[in-house]
């Protein structure tokens, strides 16, 4: 034990471990605070002291019970899981492209998913069918992969960080425009929902969606965590990673599939949500004072969940009863972080 302490000390591990522990405790506290706030606050305020009884399944007859169990709890779980998924998708893309402002929204991957989901909804619902959660995720995955392939093709031809982002934004615009056309011409009453969804929203998520969403998000996030080691090697560049024994081909395929799947899952249920994928990993790295994936991955997942809980609370309560789109709120808090990253990088280049 003495030896362990000695070694820890030599590497400054003691300090670092304390910092990481502190960040995780902070994240856990924030998660609980925002979860409770999300459950209690709304058009109907649920008193804090009743919450325990409602959540443990007592007091089943009250309106509070109905509101919490049918509306707020599934929405809370979705916001938490999908926020975590977005943050991880962003972190994967930043690692892959070695670009700090890469993310599923800015690279057009969310918009690609949106386009195919909208297309599929119109076809299926137009023929009096019902979209299941599985179909939603599948359609979104196909869309995000198509957009991803475009981005990859562009990134092969040009080797500039900013051009990659510009290309991604353009792909995003094209997909969004195409989606708008579809929505405009599909005047079916069933498609009114589409409009809200295509702007990004956690509203209307119910328990039937939660099951599959949980499985997909947790399974892919677990897989991302298991990729922590090669991601750490990849941070030194492809050539060093290869010389350490990373199978680069397999690793790249895994990164692409996982980031697309995570982004697709978010878009399938909540539409495209901006900036979470960039802002959260960045903030988490600053707080942890390290970019080691082993700690960044779980912290980014928690942080993404918290960020989306916070933004969703604002989206539905500030202008109540009108709901703002979630993307509008995440942009207000996320975009300044991106600007900060750019300014910081510029300063470093000038030095």
């Amino acid at each position: 034990m003495q030896r362990q302490d000695q070694i820890d000390d030599d590497f400054g591990q003691g300090v670092r471990r304390a910092r990481v522990t502190g960040v995780f405790i902070g994240l856990a506290v924030l998660l609980v605070v925002f979860a409770v706030a999300n459950l209690c606050i709304g058009s109907l305020t649920v008193p804090l002291q009743d919450l325990g009884a409602i959540l443990t399944g007592h007091d089943t007859e009250s309106t509070y019970y109905q509101v919490i169990w049918n509306i707020r709890l599934p929405r809370l779980i979705a916001a938490g899981l999908l926020g975590g998924a977005l943050a991880l998708a962003g972190f994967l893309l930043q690692t892959f492209f070695n670009n700090p402002i890469a993310g599923p929204y800015i690279l057009g991957i969310s918009s690609g998913a949106k386009l195919v989901v909208a297309l599929m909804m119109i076809v299926v619902v137009g023929n009096a069918g019902v979209m299941t959660s599985g179909m939603l995720i599948l359609a979104a995955f196909v869309g995000s992969m198509i957009a991803m392939i475009f981005v990859l093709l562009v990134s092969r031809r040009i080797n500039s960080m900013s051009m990659l982002i510009v290309a991604g934004v353009m792909i995003g615009y094209i997909c969004s425009a195409a989606t708008d056309f579809l929505i405009t011409f599909a005047s079916d009453a069933n498609i009114v929902n589409l409009k809200n969804w295509s702007l990004g929203s956690f509203s209307g998520i119910n328990w039937s969606d939660i099951g599959l969403m949980t499985v997909v998000v947790l399974a892919s996030s677990g897989a991302v965590f298991l990729l922590s080691k090669p991601m750490g090697a990849f941070q030194l560049g492809e050539q060093y990673a290869r010389s350490m024994g990373v199978n680069i081909r397999l690793f790249r395929i895994a990164l692409i599939l996982l980031s697309s799947l995570l982004a697709a899952c978010v878009t399938a249920f909540a539409g495209p949500i901006s900036f979470v994928g960039i802002a959260v990993p960045h903030l988490v790295k600053r707080f942890l004072a390290t970019s080691k994936p082993l700690v960044v991955v779980p912290a980014a997942f928690l942080g993404g969940g918290i960020f989306c809980l916070f933004c969703d609370l604002i989206a539905r309560s500030v202008f109540a009863p009108t709901e703002v789109s979630i993307s509008a709120v995440t942009a207000i808090f996320g975009a300044p972080v991106v600007i900060a990253i750019l300014l910081h990088r510029q300063k470093r280049v000038e030095q």
């Binding site: 030599d10 590497f11 050539q239 010389s243 024994g245």
Partner: protein
């Protein structure tokens, strides 16, 4: 170790996109010996090294690591045979020097890459050998180029391969650290029996430190042999297209053209 050479190439042809650049590359590195590639800028020294390391697709011929053909080895096998120190500048984000060196233990750690106490000891040994232990808690990006170069050498050492490959290791280093780095390499080679293959620009240093010199120019290897055979005016003038008498490869002395009066 049964094989005679830790690293060997047979009629290796290197180039880009299947187009041959240099033919007939035959290199043999023994355990405990230093082999150095010299030659003019753009002669293809880096291309040869990158091809041996598998970063570039070879055009023809074969590479053997400890007697085993490269193609038969997994990425993990290769990582136990060969570690690299590249010349490209590395950009990291929020990583300490110890973090960077620790990545050298990658082949030895488990699925999550958590270092054991023994791994940490090796990291420490490597950092002390290169005299960068004091820098361990510093952010890698805040170091000077020379310090970073030494960190990357420590990283390559703690990977504990049979061969270490260094591409222009003395780039960015002043003469003090150039000499120190080469001393570290000599120490490493004599105490651990590691084989070293590297490219160098500084001819006097190459002559002092190497057991074997390989001259790369144009589309082939124009000469190779022990330093005393290579560092003769005839070979060096030919290799670098020098006017006879303008450079003494043994003393490193140069003669400039007289100024017009």
């Amino acid at each position: 170790m049964s094989a005679e050479f830790v690293l060997e190439t047979k009629d290796l042809t290197v180039g880009y996109d299947g187009t041959a650049l240099i033919n007939g590359v035959n290199i043999e590195v023994k355990a405990g010996k230093i082999v150095t590639l010299i030659g003019p800028n753009g002669a293809g020294k880096s291309t040869i090294l990158k091809t041996i390391a598998g970063h570039l697709e070879k055009v023809g011929g074969a590479v053997y690591l400890s007697g085993r053909p490269f193609e038969k080895l997994t990425a993990h096998d290769v990582s136990l045979e060969l570690s690299v120190m590249l010349t490209e500048r590395l950009r990291t984000e929020l990583l300490t020097c110890a973090d960077v060196v620790e990545t050298g233990r990658y082949p030895y750690t488990g699925r999550l890459g958590i270092l054991s106490d023994d791994d940490r000891e090796k990291v420490r040994e490597a950092m002390e050998m290169v005299h960068v232990w004091d820098l361990r808690a510093r952010d890698f990006m805040q170091l000077s180029d020379g310090q970073r170069q030494r960190i990357m050498l420590a990283r390559a050492i703690c990977q504990e391969p049979r061969t270490i490959m260094l591409d222009e290791p003395t780039n960015y280093l002043d003469i003090h650290y150039q000499i120190e780095l080469l001393n570290v390499l000599r120490h490493l080679v004599s105490t651990r029996g590691v084989g070293v293959i590297m490219s160098l620009h500084e001819l006097p240093l190459a002559r002092k430190v190497s057991d074997h010199i390989i001259c790369v120019k144009g589309d082939s290897i124009v000469a190779q042999g022990p330093p005393e055979e290579i560092f003769t005016p005839a070979v060096i003038d030919e290799l670098y297209d020098l006017e006879p008498g303008t450079f003494d490869p043994v003393s490193g002395n140069i003669e400039l053209d007289p100024l017009p009066s």
